[in-house]
């Protein structure tokens, strides 16, 4: 839930794409590197017409194209199979290099989880992105400050997160990841620096919008809910 507004703004106001032609060469690319956030991505892709909205009801069911992690070969609009964390930023670097070689101006946006950037490969990719001055690449960190087993601060602290990206050669922006206008302004005007990749640190709340789940790591990848909890979830979203 923490990345819903980020994806909403990207798909509503920032990215160029053609749902009827997902492989359009000049499209902007979005890589959801935190593949476990795929439900929000599926909802957005369905809303934009990449596949029928009814397909959402099949989420994680047998034979569904919509699994618990997004699969590039199955889901229209999904650029890469993700869920093994720490892949997306490198994929983005490759796509940004290719875009520049084709002298196309399409953008690449990589959405990463905060726990995800504990993976060392993210920093291999970060060095690569700044070395090649990939201003067409934007990394968005969904900084909800909770990972599977608890607060990032306790498990493997990411702070000073913005300084880290700056030290790795990114232009950085911090934003309230649930403020639509602020996101629109930040994501819409990236790159911040025409010679650098951009890192957007989006401060978010895990489980945003569902009061009893907000900020509670126990809701990380929860399944098999009793009916009364399901009803409460729908009520919270109404």
């Amino acid at each position: 839930m923490s990345l819903v507004e980020i994806l909403r703004v990207l798909y509503d106001d920032v990215l160029r794409y053609r749902p009827e032609d997902p492989a359009w060469p000049d499209r902007d690319r979005l890589i959801l590197s935190k593949g476990h956030g795929c439900l929000a991505l599926y909802a957005m892709l369905a809303d934009k017409g990449f596949f029928p909205v009814e397909a959402l009801d099949s989420f994680c069911r047998r034979d569904s194209i919509l699994g618990g992690h997004p699969e590039a070969a199955k889901v229209p609009g999904v650029e890469a199979s993700t869920g093994a964390l720490g892949h997306g930023l490198s994929l983005g670097v490759g796509m940004a290099l290719a875009a520049r070689a084709r002298t196309r101006d399409h953008r690449i946006v990589v959405v990463m989880g905060d726990g995800e950037i504990q993976e060392g490969s993210v920093w291999e990719a970060a060095m690569s992105a700044s070395k090649h001055r990939l201003s067409n690449l934007t990394a968005v960190i969904d900084y909800n400050k909770l990972q599977s087993a608890g607060p990032t601060r306790e498990i493997l602290d990411l702070e000073p997160i913005t300084d880290k990206f700056r030290a790795f050669g990114f232009a950085t922006v911090e934003v309230d990841g649930h403020d639509i206008d602020a996101l629109r302004s930040v994501l819409g005007r990236a790159p911040v620096d025409s010679a650098k990749p951009t890192a957007v640190i989006a401060h978010t709340i895990k489980g945003k919008g569902i009061a009893f789940a907000e900020g509670d790591a126990n809701w990380h990848h929860k399944s098999r809910l009793p009916p009364e909890i399901t009803a409460a979830l729908y009520a919270a979203l109404a």
Partner: protein, 326 residues
């Protein structure tokens, strides 16, 4: 050759008689680059040790050194491949398979990104010990669904395969021999095809099934066996996956015994694939295996190590005779 225990410099080849080609991979890639503008080269700081320098010199703006970062190498290659490029990514086999395995599996194979991974120092082609000898890379690579796996035998095949894998609709892992690479196959007559075995010599008594650097030794062994009155066929398997099972089974069915020869551990590679192919086809033949045992190998000169672990013509001859009960 005197064995004084000198450790050869990385990638240095043993002396070979006959002709050789310098940097066949890089030359072939540069040639390919002239007709295919979408070809790009990427390396994890091992450009000159993986022979990609002829491509770098020809196309400096299509060449990227991502630094010593093999995970990044593979996924950057996937990003390039997903955006219309044909990305040849070079490093050593040990680093590609051991360090970047997850990236090959998911960023390349699962995502259907057609990255071409070119991997140096296969098996006992370096004396630098267990850290650098890719002795189990074929098994690891072949376990990944949708990954094509190639182990070429000489300069001719490296050059042909370098061009051929550009047209494989998916990721490829190809082993590399570098620097002065012997020419064994006739470039005018030989035609490499992905997934196809090549019967280099026919024979009635024993089938020697070989891949990579062991194929030239198998050809030599067949010659020595002929002089001893044994008729040996040589079936070269440049593609480990998809594996040409029918070629193996049909040859074995018309010979009395089978010998496998690979520059790789004997589990999970050529020997295992041949055994499976024979079993599945219901062809029961005695099988003698030449390859590296299930252990890390020490430092030492390449000829010394290859002799110690039986990656030689003599060892193939002896195995063929054993297989026939001689």
């Amino acid at each position: 050759m005197a064995e004084r225990g000198r450790t050869l410099a990385m990638g240095e080849q043993e002396a070979v008689a006959g002709t050789a080609i310098e940097a066949p991979f890089g030359r072939a890639l540069a040639a390919l680059g002239r007709t295919r503008p979408e070809v790009v080269g990427v390396t994890a700081d091992l450009g000159k040790y993986t022979d990609i320098h002829p491509f770098r010199d020809a196309f400096p703006d299509r060449y990227f050194n991502v630094g010593m970062a093999e995970q990044n190498l593979i996924a950057v290659g996937a990003g390039l491949a997903k955006t219309g490029k044909i990305a040849y990514c070079t490093t050593y086999g040990v680093f590609a398979t051991r360090r970047a395995y997850d990236f090959i599996a998911i960023a390349c194979a699962h995502s259907r990104a057609a990255v071409k991974i070119v991997a140096g120092l296969p098996g006992l082609t370096t004396g630098y010990g267990g850290t650098h000898q890719a002795i189990e890379d074929l098994a690891l690579a072949a376990m990944i669904p949708g990954l094509t796996v190639i182990d070429p035998c000489d300069a001719t095949e490296i050059m042909q395969a370098t061009a051929a894998i550009a047209d494989v609709d998916g990721p490829v892992y190809m082993r590399l021999q570098r620097a002065q690479v012997p020419v064994v196959l006739d470039a005018q007559r030989y035609r490499f095809a992905v997934g196809k075995a090549a019967l280099l010599r026919d024979g009635a008594d024993v089938a020697i099934v070989a891949t990579g650097i062991m194929t030239p030794r198998a050809i030599e062994a067949a010659g020595a066996l002929a002089a001893a009155g044994v008729s040996a066929a040589v079936l070269h398997m440049p593609t480990i996956k998809p594996f040409d099972r029918d070629a193996v089974a049909s040859l074995a069915a018309r010979t009395r015994a089978v010998v496998t020869a690979e520059n790789h551990v004997m589990r999970g590679g050529l020997a295992s694939l041949v055994a499976e192919a024979l079993f599945d086809a219901g062809v029961a033949r005695r099988l003698e295996r030449i390859g590296i045992p299930d252990q890390f190998v020490e430092c030492g000169s390449v000829p010394h190590l290859q002799k110690k672990y039986g990656l030689t013509t003599d060892a193939i001859v002896a195995a063929a005779k054993r297989s026939l009960g001689a």
